[in-house]
Amino acid sequence: MSVLVYIDTLGGTVTKNSLGAVSYGAQIGSTTVVTNGRVDASELEQLKNYGAEKVLVNRSVEGADASQLTKLIVAAAEQVGADTIIFTNDLTGKAVAPRVSANLKAGLVSGAIALPEADGSIKTNVFSGKAFGIMKVHSPKRVISLTPNATEIKEISAAGSVEEFSPEVGTPGVTVKEVKKQEGDVLLTEAELVVSAGRGLKGPENWGIVEDLAKTLGAATACSRPVSDIGWRPHHEHVGQTGIAIRPNLYIAAGISGAIQHLAGVNGSKVIVVINTDPEAPFFKAADYGVVGDAFDVLPKLNEEIKKLQAQS
């Protein structure tokens, strides 16, 4: 099997999700990585520890234009004779993987959560994480878009030579006018720990206790839909069926009832802690640990206890 993995190096760094995609590819076959953007060769060096035989880097193609990226990736796939092309199912993957799939007439498995089985079938998330679908690809080539944080990242050593790669990609069809970076330190989609709150917090002025806890943990913050709808919190924090889906190792939910549409975005989390004054809140059924109590009392206490733990170690 010859595998091509596309990774996004936004901001010039290789993310954990990218390492996951490379390591996933290397467990399937001989893996080449293709990437674009202003990224240091030293940053790409580490990919050899996750199984990259070769890294092809193009420094001129911008991420916004999915059609140029598609041409770049298709050219790389041709050069290495790839039969499997892997993306991370994040914002970039969602923009580019379907184009590459249609271009190569290669069946697309989106949201994969496991390695292919011996018969080629691949497990994916469907119904917003409420079920799994086992998918088969019938075309000779395939594209797999991997759910972030769903598979184990293995260290596999390989040659990892870095080469410039500049095929003909045409002119951009999309012009970027402005980029607005999200404020806040930890990216929600990349976060291993997430502290989230809902309407139970009563108003935006009360989010200090959520942010304090997140800061202590090095966690990202999230919220339920009504909270972002009323403008208490920014839209990009909204998780759930109509927001973003996340799979952190720990999801702490305070003052969120646990409606089915909310659960749809967080039920892939490894451990869920629910803090709610109402012992009948549906979220407790989906939780691993629960505290029946007032978020205004419990969140600061939790913050203090975690600081104590951190002081010990």
């Binding site: 936004l10 234009d65 999915a66 059609s67 994040d90 970039t92 969602k94 923009a95 993987a97 379907p98 184009r99 799939s101 697309l108 989106s110 949201g111 079938s121 998330n125 469907v126 119904f127 917003s128 409420k130 079920a131 679908g133 086992i134 998918m135 088969k136 690809v137 019938h138 075309s139 069809g173 999309v174 012009t175 970027v176 006018k177 402005e178 980029v179 607005k180 970076k181 999200q182 989609t189 943990l217 839209h235 909204h238 069926q241 109509t242 927001g243 720990l250 549409q261 490894k270 451990v271 407790f284 989906a286 691993d288 640990y289 629960g290 505290v291 206490k301 939790l302 203090e304 206890e305």
Partner: protein, 246 residues
């Protein structure tokens, strides 16, 4: 401006999810079907708003059997001018995208809008495939769109923020939250929808590239461990030593 809005049918967000026929098919018994929220709330409503201010037309397209017609009428009731149904069971994303792209190319639409994803199979695949098959730009996960002549300015989500981009028609976009506000159809709209044109077209031949062979439900969660609010130290202990997540 000619807008084409892709409308799909999905189970209501509160539906119980289970499977029949040896776990190979979604169990539709007792399930209520709705227009996929991203298609209805964001893609359709933004197309209608732009048509209302700039002129033009809004056509919807659905790849699906005759049983999809109630949800197509709902889209007409919200305000679309006319609808097209490609008379086929939607196969995989490639099959569906192929049908939409063929129709869009033949009828010279300026903007093709899809939803961010269908909430049942969550592929987020069709918009990008349609764009590639049509050879146009694709703005994935657009949260705002304005048009000035043939030039559109869009805001789109990107990893770690948003990007403001410009693109000329024709192009394809997938619509995410922020684009528009949900519209509830009124009585007049519902009455008018009954007589609006709904054209049925036979599919063009195309093979599926993928299929679902079976489905599984996640394992039941074990009972929640409750910790007393006066003993949060114990919660931290469990998270550190038992769950090993902090």
């Amino acid at each position: 401006m000619k807008f084409l809005v892709c409308i799909s049918k999905v189970p209501d967000t509160t539906s119980k999810i289970d499977f029949t026929d040896n776990n190979s098919k979604f169990n539709e018994a007792g399930v209520q079907f709705i227009v996929n929220p991203y298609d209805e709330w964001y893609a359709l409503v933004r197309a209608l708003e732009l048509k209302e201010s700039l002129g033009g037309s809004v056509t919807t397209i659905t790849v699906g059997p005759a049983t999809d017609e109630p949800i197509i009428r709902k889209a007409l009731a919200i305000g679309a001018d006319n609808a097209v149904r490609i008379n086929a069971e939607p196969g995989d994303a490639y099959f569906t995208a192929h049908q939409i792209a063929e129709y869009a190319k033949a009828n010279a639409f300026d903007v093709v809008l899809t939803g961010k994803e269908t909430i049942n199979y969550n592929g987020s695949q069709i918009g990008g495939m349609v764009a590639e098959l049509m050879g146009t730009p694709y703005i994935s996960l657009a949260t705002k769109m304005d048009l000035n002549g043939n030039t559109a300015t869009l805001e789109k989500e990107m990893v770690g923020g948003v990007e403001i981009v410009e693109v000329n028609t024709p192009f394809v976009l997938s619509a995410a939250k922020g684009m528009a506000e949900q519209r509830i159809p009124n009585m007049r709209g519902i009455m008018a929808a009954r007589t609006k044109p709904l054209e049925v077209i036979e599919p063009v031949p195309c093979d599926d590239l993928t299929s679902f062979v079976s489905f599984e439900l996640p394992p039941e969660k074990s009972e929640v461990k409750l910790v007393d609010a006066d003993n949060i130290g114990e919660l931290v202990n469990l998270l550190h030593n038992e769950a090993k997540v902090i």
